[in-house]
Assembly symmetry: C2
């Protein structure tokens, strides 16, 4: 993918580099995929916009339940383009390339200088990128006047939004091990402590069925809701029907859109993702797994500092395991973390994007936050000291990270126009805030 | 495997048939693997022994942690023969074939008529076999004077045993489903009921860390321990060191060998095997799975009737799920069951086997029960009305169902001699009990 992107950019006339990020930590035989950086235009009289995207995707197997081959783009007769990465984040990345190509073909000069930063480890915590952004902040990225990231989604399916906040994510693993190898449950069931039994007990202590995090102290870290913030939610264009449509079910926790958006944007959540090491295929296997690794993540919000969350999580899990009085061995560790981010939507970067939405879609965008985490947002803000804007292309029904991920043709085509229009309005904005 | 077995048996001079068992229930596009039946010898003046084995094996992948290719027999320099099915149950099946071959090569007539029944669905509940045994009990199997099954293990590594009891196994699945597809945990975490959260809560209510089954009423079904039975355990050749060696760890629940053997042989146990539908690979995937299926089994003992166990399990799980007050949907069903079995070790079938052990190994065998389930044992007993003997070949360290399953050369060679000697003593036993 890096080779492909680099050659496409070069063919468009950009100066391109593939920059190594070193070895993958803990897997020293593996090179991290390179970050592809590019410059298009170098006019001192123009603003310079730094755009970010990623060319890696979530894992996908046909047998996970995809209706189509996940790694072959398949367009249905409603214009839905199915494929892993279609909306997250290959479609938006290609959007930027399309903008350059369209300007070239139309003979119109790009009104800004463009800096591109396309990475290949976003779905694994952007390993190595933060150091890279930091080290290039005073060299390759030094001219950037603002940053634009297209790697999130509209709240619904009709109305575009600009995003000024994100939750963070702390991803944890809990391993429980006992015997030296998997055991026959007939022979050893009842006479040996079973790691899987201990693990489900621990996992059941993390969160309740209604999404309440059970780790003591976590909720005390959350910034209290002010009257002013509370007043913003009723105006957002979103309904419980939108939620139920995205879910494909009525299994929502909260009764109102306001509570739902707050649960997504400004409160933490805890999800249990799965178990590594136990039998996971269809059918019946009567084995006691020797070592199992439970995986869960906590979506973080202001003012949860990762170090505090870790301390509470580790202490609680170890205390709960001690209560089990098991002879098995437990370990718990942070697999990766990314901090939450909240920015100002009054900056000219947002104003320009807002005008672009009006131009292309004929409506004012909603100003939103998001539940997902894009840790590089914060990295770019801190390293460049410039405003960062999230300008989504895909819609809420795109099923990012799920089976049957898609991007609608409308979102891809109008979204490409949006990215182009944004660059024109950015060039015209009078004030540097 | 069926083709291979049938051709090997035919080459030895047996009359062989591959008998279809119909379609796999619920998967009507799949034929069940055939049962291979054979007759070797047809002398009215000889006893006829029916032997059973299975040519299917547990699933195995190199990446489960095997040190060798699981489907390539690999012998190390201690004579340990590694490979899936080496001890469970391909080695013992080949043992019977070796006995015929050795008699042929030595020019010694086999002292009994041999009937073979080798199936291919043992690891999946012997689907279709019970009906087959029943229907052949008055035809192909009608001459059988006794049954011998070599499909279990010595208690330790040095002393052979004869087995007269087995636990049964009820295998259950619990599915919890909510949204129509997997969800991004950043977007939906905190605003939708998560199936995995509900599932771990339910699984944590089944069994505690010390192996105590938490489903109310289950323990009331268990036959009380008598003084007589209690007095048998101290004499069995088994130590806590044997257990710890098999486990490869010190993670035993009970402090004494007697409690350990009772937990294995005469009390039920409950093991949680895994979760289907959740993320199970290494690494980090931030997905909320839409539907997860938890799998567990209960090892059953006298006098637990499957129908009673099911009623208690289903009722309890549904009641616990109702307490969660979740909008998700739960289902629980029995995947398969096999009844426990206890026989009389005073029959001539056992006496003959006991003499064979003395002949080949120079010791008296322990009379044992087993924790695992071999449901066909009961099927053969009920269908033929004859005594059934379990005559194991492998040892306790063979790691059946686990990674690095093996059979020691000593057990394979002396075990083959044991099967042969057994047929000679069976032919000599004076009384038909």
């Amino acid at each position: 993918m890096a080779e492909f992107l680099a050659s496409e950019l070069a063919a468009l006339g950009a100066e391109v580099q593939q920059r190594p990020l070193g070895k993958q930590p803990g897997k020293e035989h593996l090179e991290l995929p390179p970050v592809v950086i590019a410059r298009y235009g170098n006019d001192k009289n123009k603003r310079t916009i730094l755009v970010y995207g990623h060319y890696d995707v979530q894992p996908a197997l046909k047998e996970d339940g995809w209706s189509t081959e996940p790694f072959k783009l398949t367009v249905d007769n409603h214009g839905r383009m199915y494929g892993r990465g279609s909306t997250d984040d290959k479609g938006p990345v290609l959007g930027w390339l399309n903008v350059i190509e369209a300007h070239k073909k139309a003979g119109v000069e790009l009104p800004v200088n463009l800096l591109c930063c396309f990475e290949g480890m976003e779905e694994y915590g952007s390993e190595g990128l933060e150091e890279f952004i930091q080290s290039e902040s005073k060299s390759f990225f030094k001219d950037a006047d603002a940053v634009c990231i297209s790697d999130n989604y509209w709240l619904g399916t009709e109305k575009p939004c600009l995003t000024y906040g994100l939750r963070g994510c702390n991803y944890y693993s809990i391993s429980v091990s006992g015997p030296a190898q998997d055991l026959h449950s007939g022979v050893f069931g009842g006479s040996a402590h079973e790691p899987m039994t201990d693990l489900v007990h621990i996992l059941s202590k993390l969160v309740d069925s209604h999404g309440n995090i059970l780790v003591p102290g976590i909720m005390d870290l959350v910034e209290p809701l002010t009257e002013e913030e509370n007043s913003l939610y009723p105006n957002i264009s979103y309904t419980m029907d939108n939620l139920h449509e995205s879910l494909g079910s009525q299994t929502s926790i909260h009764p109102t859109k306001e509570q739902t958006l707050m649960a997504r944007w400004r409160y933490p959540s805890l999800s249990i993702h799965g178990v590594e090491g136990a039998y996971s295929a269809p059918g019946a296997k009567t084995v006691i797994p020797a070592k199992v690794i439970g995986k869960f993540s906590i979506r973080t919000v202001p003012n949860m500092e990762s170090v505090d969350v870790n301390r509470l999580v580790f202490g609680y899990i170890k205390a709960e395991f001690a209560k089990l009085n098991s002879k098995n061995t437990l370990d718990v560790w942070l697999q990766h973390d990314g901090k939450w981010w909240v920015s100002s939507p009054k900056h000219w970067n947002f104003t320009a994007a807002s005008k672009a939405v009006k131009q292309v879609f004929g409506v004012e965008p909603d100003m939103t936050r998001e539940g997902g985490s894009i840790p590089v947002t914060l990295s770019f803000e801190q390293a460049t000291g410039k405003n960062v804007l999230l300008l989504p292309m895909g819609s809420s029904t795109d099923a990012a990270h799920s089976i049957n991920e898609k991007l609608d043709k409308r979102n891809y085509i109008e979204g490409t126009k949006l990215l182009g229009a944004y660059l024109h309005y950015v060039a015209e904005e009078p004030t540097k805030a």
